[in-house]
Symmetry: D3
Subunit: 255 residues, 6 copies
C-alpha cells in the first residue's frame, strides 16, 4: 500500500468536466487526484507562416501553472520575461502527442491552440494536461464538424498519458503524486493510444539508472492505466466518442 492508500497499479481519482469555461471551442477541467488542469482548445482558421500553402493543419500547445498551483508560490514566467526550459519541454510534448492522432491533412489549413493551465498541482501535470487536452480538442473539432467546416472528425484514435516510476519501497508504481515523484528513482511518462500503440515514452533515471526489465514492468502499468483513462475520456465525450471509435474500426477494416 502506497502512502495515500493506493495499490501500485492504481490510478488516482479522475474527473473530467466538459464545457468548463464559455469562450473556447473546447474547454475541460481535468482532475487527477489533487492535480487540476484547465485544458482549452481554440481553432484558428490559418496555420503558422512556415506551413502556409501545404494544405495541412497544425496543433500547438501552451502550458502554464498559476503561481499558487504549487505548495510554494512560483514566480510567473510573464514576470520573469521568459519561459523556463521545463515549460518549453512540456509544451512541445503536448503538441507533438496530439498531432500523432490527428489527420492534419483532413483538418485543413487550421491551427488548434491547446492551452493547459494548471490551477492545482500534485504531480503528473503534463500527463493530465495531455489526457484533458485530447478531450478539449475533440470537442472543438466536433464543433467544426457540426458547423460543416470539415467532413469527418479527423481523429484517428483516443490518446491519453500517464506517469509511471520506480520507488525504493514499492518498485514499479502507476500515476505518481508529487510526494512519490520527488523521491522516485526513475520517472517515466508514457503516451499511448487505445490500440496500445506508443506515441511517446520519456524515461529518466534521477541520479540513478534502470534496467530493461524495469522498463517493461513500467510499460505494463502504463498501458493498463491509459486504458482506464480512455474510459473516462469516452464518458466525457459522450456521443462524440462513438465517432472516434468508428474511425478506429474503419482503419482496422482498411488494413
Amino acid at each position: 500500500m502506497r502512502h495515500d492508500g493506493r495499490k501500485v497499479d492504481q490510478l488516482r481519482k479522475v474527473d473530467i468536466v466538459n464545457d468548463f469555461v464559455i469562450h473556447p471551442e473546447g474547454s475541460v477541467l481535468i482532475s487527477v487526484g489533487n492535480t487540476k488542469v484547465i485544458c482549452n482548445a481554440s481553432i484558428e482558421d490559418r496555420v503558422p507562416p512556415f506551413m502556409r500553402g501545404e494544405g495541412k493543419g497544425w496543433i500547438t500547445a501552451e502550458y502554464s501553472m498559476l503561481p499558487r498551483a504549487t505548495e510554494q508560490r512560483t514566480i510567473r514566467e510573464s514576470s520573469k520575461g521568459k519561459i523556463s526550459g521545463r515549460t518549453m519541454e512540456i509544451q512541445r510534448l503536448i503538441g507533438r502527442a496530439l498531432r500523432a492522432v490527428v489527420d492534419l491533412k483532413a483538418l485543413g489549413e487550421r491551427t488548434i491552440w491547446i492551452d493547459c493551465d494548471v490551477i492545482q498541482a500534485d504531480g503528473g501535470t503534463r500527463t493530465a494536461s495531455i489526457t484533458g487536452a485530447f478531450v478539449a480538442m475533440t470537442v472543438a473539432l466536433g464543433k467544426l464538424l457540426n458547423e460543416g467546416k470539415i467532413k469527418a472528425l479527423p481523429i484517428t484514435d483516443f490518446l491519453a498519458a500517464v506517469s509511471v516510476g520506480v520507488d525504493a519501497e514499492h518498485g514499479e508504481i502507476l500515476d505518481l503524486n508529487y510526494l512519490e515523484d520527488s523521491s522516485a528513482q526513475v520517472d517515466m511518462n508514457v503516451i499511448m493510444t487505445s490500440k496500445g500503440s506508443l506515441v511517446e515514452i520519456q524515461g529518466t533515471g534521477e541520479e540513478a539508472t534502470f534496467s530493461r526489465s524495469q522498463l517493461n514492468s513500467m510499460l505494463d502499468l502504463a498501458e493498463q492505466g491509459i486504458q482506464t483513462l480512455i474510459e473516462y475520456q469516452k464518458e466525457a465525450l459522450g456521443d462524440l466518442s462513438l465517432i472516434v471509435t468508428d474511425n478506429l474500426t474503419k482503419q482496422v477494416e482498411l488494413k
Copy 2:
C-alpha cells in the same frame, strides 16, 4: 431595461467560493456574471529589499488572464516576454487598493502576494479581482492570526470595487459587462470601504467627456453596489467578518 434585463442600478449575479484551491493561504473563486477570477493570497515572511528594516509589511498583486478567458484567444504575456501596460496598471491598482485597508505596521515584515487569474472574462475583471482578493487576503491573514503569528487581524475595513459608466441609451449604469463596456461613453472604476470612504476613483471619457453631475450620479450607483458586494464578502468570510466589523467599531469609538 439593459440588454441583459438588468436595471441601471443592478449588479450582476455575484458568487464567492472560498477555499477554491488547496495550496494558497487564502483562495477564492469570484464570479460576477460571466466574469470569473481565481484570487489567491500567499504570505511570505519577508518584504522586498527596498522596505527591509522598516518593521512594516507589504502587499503586492499580480493579474493575468488565461488566453481563452476572452472571446478571441489572446497571446500569453509569458510568450510575448513582456507584460502589457494594461496588466501593469491593474496590478498596481489592486495592490494599492488593498494596502489602504491593511495596517502594514501590524502586519510586520511580511509580504502578502495577491494573484488574480481571470479564467473567464465578461467585463469588470479588475473590480471583481479586488473584491475577491479582499476575501482571499482576509482568509490568509485569519490563518496568521490563528497560528498566533499576529496578535490582531490587521484589517481596518471591508473593501470592494465596482465599475460604473455612462451609456448613450440608459445614462449612468452600474456594473458594466463587456458589451456595455465596449460602447460606454464614460467608464469609471470605484473602490470604496464599508464606511463609504473612497480609496480610488478612476474615471475616463472614451473619446468623450463627462460632467460633474454625471460623476456624482455614477458615484451614487457605485456606493450602493459596493455595499451589496460587501454583504457577499461577509457571507463568504463567515466568522472572520465579525473580527473586521469589530475592528471598525473600535476605530469609531477611538474617534
Copy 3:
C-alpha cells in the same frame, strides 16, 4: 501658506516655450515650477495596423525621464530593457486624454506621436506633460492645416491637466510639488477641457481614504487651476488658439 509660500489654490509659475527644438512638427518646453518637460509632436502619415482602413487617425504618447531629472539618478528604462508600470500608465493616460479633444475622423489616417521627456522633475510631471503636449499637438496640426492636408483644425476644445491633493496641514491643495506629493494623503490628477468637462479623473488614497466632500473640494481647485493653465496655452498658441475657440463656438451654436 505652503512650504514654498504658495496659497492652497495657487499654481506654481508656468512657462510654455514654443518651437523649442527644430525637427518636430510641434515642440514645446513647459515649465511648471521646477518641473520641466520637452513635449514634441510628430505626425506620421499612417495609423497602426489594428486601425487601418477605418478612415480615422490615432494619437499615441511616450513618456520618459532623463536619469538626472530626479534628485537621485534613476536607471534608464532602455538599460533595464523594459518600461516600468508607472511609465506605461502615464503614456496611456496622455494619449487617452488628447484623443478626447481631437476629431479623429477629421484627422484622417494619420498618427500623432507625442513624446514627453522630463528633463527636470519636481512633482506633477504627468499633468505638465499633458498641458504641454496639447500645445505641441495643436502646433503640429496647425502645420497640417497650413499645408492644406486637412481642411479644418480637428481640435474640439482646449485641454489641460493639474494635480490636486489632501495634505495633513493644509487640507485640499492645488498643484503639488514633489515634497507635497510625497507626504500627501490623497493624490488626484484631473484632466479637463475649457468648458469644464471632465476627461479623466484619477484619485488615490495613499494608504488612506477620502470622502466625497473632499473629492468635491479637490475638483473645485482643479477646475480653477485648469482654467489658468488654458490661458497660458492660449498665449503660447497665439493665433492658433483663435481657431480652437472658434471651433468651440460653432459646437455650442450647433447644439
Copy 4:
C-alpha cells in the same frame, strides 16, 4: 543497405580528438559521421545558490549550434535574445545524463560546466554531445585528481548516447543521419552505461506511433551501438579509462 551504404545496425565513423582547444580543463572534438561537436568541460569551485551548503557538486550543460552548422543558416539565439525550446531540452538532457554517472557528493561543492558547440550538424547532435561530453568531463575530473583536489575519480561508469529509429524502408536502424532523421517514423535517443543500464530513453512517434516490439528492437540496436561508442571513449581517455573501469569493478565487488 542504407542510402550511405551502412547496415541497419552500423554506426557512422566515430572520431574523438582530445585536448582540442587549450583553455578548458577538458576539451574534445567528437565527430560522428559529418556531425562535429566541440565539447568543453570547465570546473568552477562553487555550486549554484540553490545547492550551497549541501556538500554536493553539480553538473550543468549548455548546447549551441554555429549558424552554419546547418545546411541553411539558422539565426543565432543570442541575436533572437532567447533560447529555443529545442536547445533547452537538449541542455537539460545532457546535464541530467552526466549527473547519473557522477558521485556528486565525492565531487564536493564544485560545478562542472559542459559546453557543447556543434560546428557541423548531420543528425544526432545531442547524442554526439553526450558521448563527447563524457570524455571532456572525465579529463577535467582527471586533472582535479592529479592536482590532489579530489581523492578519487568520482565517475561510476562510462556513459554514451545514440539515436535509433524506425524507417519505412529498413525498419529499425541505428545512428540516424540528418536525411534519415527527417523521414523516420520513430525517433528515439538512448543513453546507457557500459553495464547496459538505461539512464534516459526518449522515443517519439513523428505523426506516427510504435509498438512495444519495435521499442525492443530499437533498444537492442542502441545497446550494441553504445558499447562500441564506449570503446572509442576508452581509447580517447587512455589511462584515465582504467580508473573508471576500476571504479566499476569495485562497485560490483561491493554488491
Copy 5:
C-alpha cells in the same frame, strides 16, 4: 565655401551653458551648430562590483537621443527593449575618453555617471557629448573638492572631441554637420587633450578608403578644432579651469 558658408577648417557655432538642470552634480547644455546635448554628471559613492576594493574610481557613460532629436522620429530604445550597437559604441567611447584624463586612484572608490541626452541632432553628437561631458564632469568633481571629499581635482588635462572627414567637393573638412556626414567618403572622430595628445582616433571609410596623407590632413584640422573647443570649455568652467591648468603645469614640471 561649404554649403552652410563655413570654411573647411571652421567649427560651427559653439555654446556651453553651465548649470542647465538643477539636480545633477554637473549639468551642461552644449550646442555645436544645431546639435544640442544635455550632459549631466552624477557622483555615486561606490564602484561597480568588479572594481570593489581596488581603491580606484570609475567613469561610465550613457547616451541617448530623444525620438525627435532627428529629422525623422526614431523609436525609443526603451520601447524596443534593447540598446542599439551604435548607442553602445558611443557610450563606451565617451566613458573611455573621459577616463583618460582622470586620475582614478585620486578619485577614490566613486563612480562618475555621465548622461548625454541629445535633444537636437545635426551631426557630431558623440563628439559634442564628449566635449560637454568633460565640463559637466569637471564641475561635479569641483563640488567634491569644495565639500572636502577629495584633496585635489583629479583631472590631468582638458579633453575635447571633434569630427573630421573627407568630402568629394572640399577634401578634408572639420566638424561635419548631418548633411556633410551623410555624403562624406571618410568620417573620423578625434579625441585629444590640450597638450595635443591623442586619446582616441576612429576613422572609417564609408564604402571607400583613405590614404595616410589624408589621415594627416584630417588630424591637423582636428587638432586645431580641439584647441578652440577647449577655449570654450575654459570659459564655461571659469575658475575651475585654472585648477586644471595648474595640474597640467605641475605634471610638466615633474617631468
Copy 6:
C-alpha cells in the same frame, strides 16, 4: 625580444585552412598564434527590408566566442539574452570593413552573412576575424561566379587587419597577444587593402594618450603586417586570388 620571443615587428604564426566545415558557401579556420576563429560566409538571395529595390547587395557580420575560448569561462550571450557592447562593436566593424572592398552594385540584391566564431582566444580576435572573413567571403563569391549567378568577382582589393600597440617595455609593437594587449598603453586596430589604403583605424589610449609620432610608427608596423597577411590570404585562395589581382590591375589601368 618580446615575452614570446618575437621581434616588435613580427606577426605570430598564421595559418588559414580553407573549406573547414561543409555547409557554408565559404568556410575558413584562421589561426593567428593561439587565436583561432571559424569564419563562415553564407549567401542569401535577398537584402534586408531597408535596402530592397535599390539593386545593391549587403554584407553583415556576426561575431561570437565559445564560452571557453577564454581562460575563464564567459557566459553565453544567448543565456544572458542580450549581446554585449563589445560584440556589437566588433560585428559592425567586420561588416563595414568587408563592404569597403566589395562592389555592392555588382553583387546584386544579395546578402553575404559573415559568421566569425572564436573557438580559442589569445588577443586579436577581431582582426583575425576580418582577415579570415575576407577569404571565406571571396570563396563564397567565387562559387556564385562559377554558378554563373554573377558575371565578375565583385571584389576590388584584398583586405586584412592587424592590431598594433604601444608597450611600456618595447614601444610600438605588431600583433599583440592577450598578455601584451592587457598591459598595452595604446591599442590600435588597422584595416588596410593591398594598395596600402586605410579602410578603418581605431586607436585607443588605455587610461593613457599617444602622440602623432607614435601613431605613425604604429601605422608603419601595421602596413607591413597587413602585406604579409595578404600573402597568406592569396595562398589560401589559390587561383581565386588571381581574379582579385586582375580586378586590381584593371582599376589602376582605368585611372
